[in-house]
């Protein structure tokens, strides 16, 4: 059974404008699923809905979220918070604001262990040191005492990974964890996420707008456009022959690792129009 199953999830702004349109996707236990789409497609919104941190302006108006077989939306708020805290974690999109700039690294990781597992501080501190070591941070003792701004982007991302895995969640939502990093660091971080995911056997929902990294991290993928699922398939099938015209255009617009400077086709106007029409037709059905 899937560890995370989202069914017909609909999220709207308070004024009724839909941000997510009956989204369904599943992540098997221990599996990596990529969630792909251009900026504004609603990728982060899906993660926020699952983790119960939707922005104030947005409202969940329909659908189900099953985490480890349990329907989160039918649970009372307190129980829901506890389930999510114990079973899921987030590697946030923006590494600059993902760590509290006014607090040292140590306490920020220790907090996770105290909040979720109820550990005593000394035990949590020892574990935090181990975790930093596990994400290949040299001199974890010094890093624990540092402030975020004293560390490089790559280091910060390693720390965020350590702290996401800290309480052994079985689902991690990584929201574009490498977007802000330069290419070499990006590769190291991708490798690290894969390594941690495999070692801990975590289900991973890997959000990205970069098809180029998809084949490196995931087995399955979901393509999103304007909050609607366009394609849900496995990675090999997708790269051999994407089913949807929009996916094909998206793939053509992605630089190949084998040929990074090769000619790129932007997604053609006609295809955008077609997919927009598809979404509009879906909306009519949704509202009517």
């Amino acid at each position: 059974m899937s560890y995370l199953a989202i069914k017909d999830l609909t999220v709207r702004l308070k004024n009724g404008v839909p941000l997510l349109r009956k989204v369904s996707l599943e992540v098997e236990a221990g599996e990596v699923r990529a969630l792909v789409g251009e900026s504004g497609a609603g990728k982060s919104m899906i993660g926020k809905a699952v983790l119960g941190i939707l922005p104030r302006a947005a409202r969940l108006t329909g659908g189900k979220i099953l985490l480890d077989g349990e329907d989160l939306l039918t649970l009372p708020p307190k129980a829901r918070r506890e389930r999510i805290g114990a079973k899921a974690a987030l590697i946030p999109q923006d590494p600059l604001t993902a760590l509290n700039p006014s607090r040292r690294i140590g306490p920020q990781i220790i907090d996770r262990l105290v909040d979720i597992l109820g550990w005593k501080r000394p035990k949590a501190e020892a574990r935090a040191l181990e975790l930093l070591d596990e994400v290949h941070i040299q001199d974890p003792g010094r890093v624990m005492k540092s402030y975020p701004h004293e560390l490089s982007g790559g280091m910060r991302q390693r720390i965020l990974i350590a702290s996401a895995f800290a309480a052994e969640p079985k689902l991690i939502i990584a929201d574009e964890p490498t977007t802000a990093l330069d290419v070499t660091v990006q590769k190291q971080i991708l490798k690290l996420i894969r390594e941690m995911q495999e070692r801990h056997q975590t289900a991973l929902l890997f959000v990205t707008h970069d098809l180029g990294v998809v084949s490196k991290v995931s087995q399955t993928l979901t393509v999103l456009y304007a909050g609607k699922v366009i394609e849900d398939t496995n990675v090999r099938a997708f790269f051999e022959a994407p089913a949807h015209a929009y996916s094909q255009a998206l793939l053509a617009a992605t630089p190949k690792y084998t040929d990074p400077d090769g000619s790129l086709m932007p997604v053609p106007e006609s295809i955008i129009t077609a997919v927009e029409q598809e979404v509009a037709a879906f909306d009519a059905q949704l509202n009517g």
């Binding site: 907090d111 909040d115 979720i116």
Partner: protein, 283 residues
């Protein structure tokens, strides 16, 4: 570039030392006023009226800074005046800060109806001219130290709540808050452990600024004779008295005015310096 940055970083240090030094001097003066004052601040001696400060012709070395029109020793009166000024600064400043920052934090982080109520209150408050508001309040509460402190808190809490609300709101949108929420931390826990440390440098700067403002407000109220009972020396009261004899004895006006100016300036500079000190990114 490193040079320029080095300069910018050294400057707050000097600021901190100068302003801190003056304020420390004031604190000592306030604490030890009864011991170090050369005269009784209330003792009148009409034969020694309007004596100039020591460096002027006709000065009496027993009255270092001279005397006022009633022959009271200016130095002693200033030392006792420091007591009241500092008490008002510390107590009113701290209370205003506590009230304003708490409301601002609630409005900015909890949002919802609490924010609605607090923000409307701030809007209403902003419509009152503060000095008139103060005089009105004192008229209602009666004169006296407690009334002054209450008046300052009631009038000035919005200064904190507006800024803290805005900062708490922007911090609340950061990803580290989202991560803490996912981990199941309570709202109060997040407000205190995650948001507050980020707003603290601003709160500290505002707090010291507020202390300076409290000193001014007390002086203004003394000036219009609405502060403490008239027989207690206050800087504002001295300035009011000095004004009437400015052409015969400038020193009666100038010394307390200068002390007031230095104190208010020191509080604001101390705030700027401490803000940098409290901010891990700038430190």
């Amino acid at each position: 570039m490193p040079d320029a940055r080095g300069q910018i970083r050294r400057l707050p240090g000097l600021r901190l030392w100068l302003s801190g030094g003056w304020l420390l001097l004031l604190v000592l003066a306030a604490i030890f006023a009864p011991m170090i004052s050369p005269h009784d601040p209330l003792e009148q001696d009409l034969f020694a009226a309007r004596l100039p400060p020591f460096w002027e012709q006709g000065a009496d070395p027993a009255y270092l800074l001279g005397t006022d029109s009633l022959g009271r020793d200016l130095l002693s009166r200033m030392l006792y005046g420091a007591r009241l000024a500092l008490t008002v600064a510390l107590v009113a400043g701290t209370l205003t800060c506590l009230v304003g920052a708490t409301l601002g934090l609630i409005a900015g982080y909890y949002r919802g109806w609490a924010d609605l109520v607090i923000s409307r209150l701030v809007d209403i408050w902003m419509a009152f001219p503060p000095v008139l508001f103060a005089i009105l309040l004192i008229a209602v509460l009666g004169t006296g130290l407690t009334s002054i402190i209450i008046a300052i808190v009631v009038i000035d809490w919005t200064r904190f709540s507006r800024v803290v609300r805005a900062e708490a709101m922007s911090q609340g949108a950061m990803d580290y808050v989202a991560s803490a929420q996912v981990a199941g931390r309570s709202r109060l826990g997040i407000a205190l452990a995650e948001i507050l440390p980020n707003v603290l440098p601003t709160i500290v700067a505002l707090l010291t600024l507020e202390m300076g403002i409290a000193v001014i407000v007390e002086a203004i109220l003394s000036f219009v004779n609405l502060s403490i009972s008239t027989d207690q020396p206050t800087w504002g009261g001295m300035i009011a008295e000095g004004r009437t004899s400015i052409y015969q004895a400038w020193w009666v006006l100038v010394f307390p005015l200068f002390a007031l100016f230095l104190t208010v300036l020191s509080f604001s500079q101390l705030g700027e310096g401490l803000k940098d000190y409290f901010d891990p990114v700038l430190r």
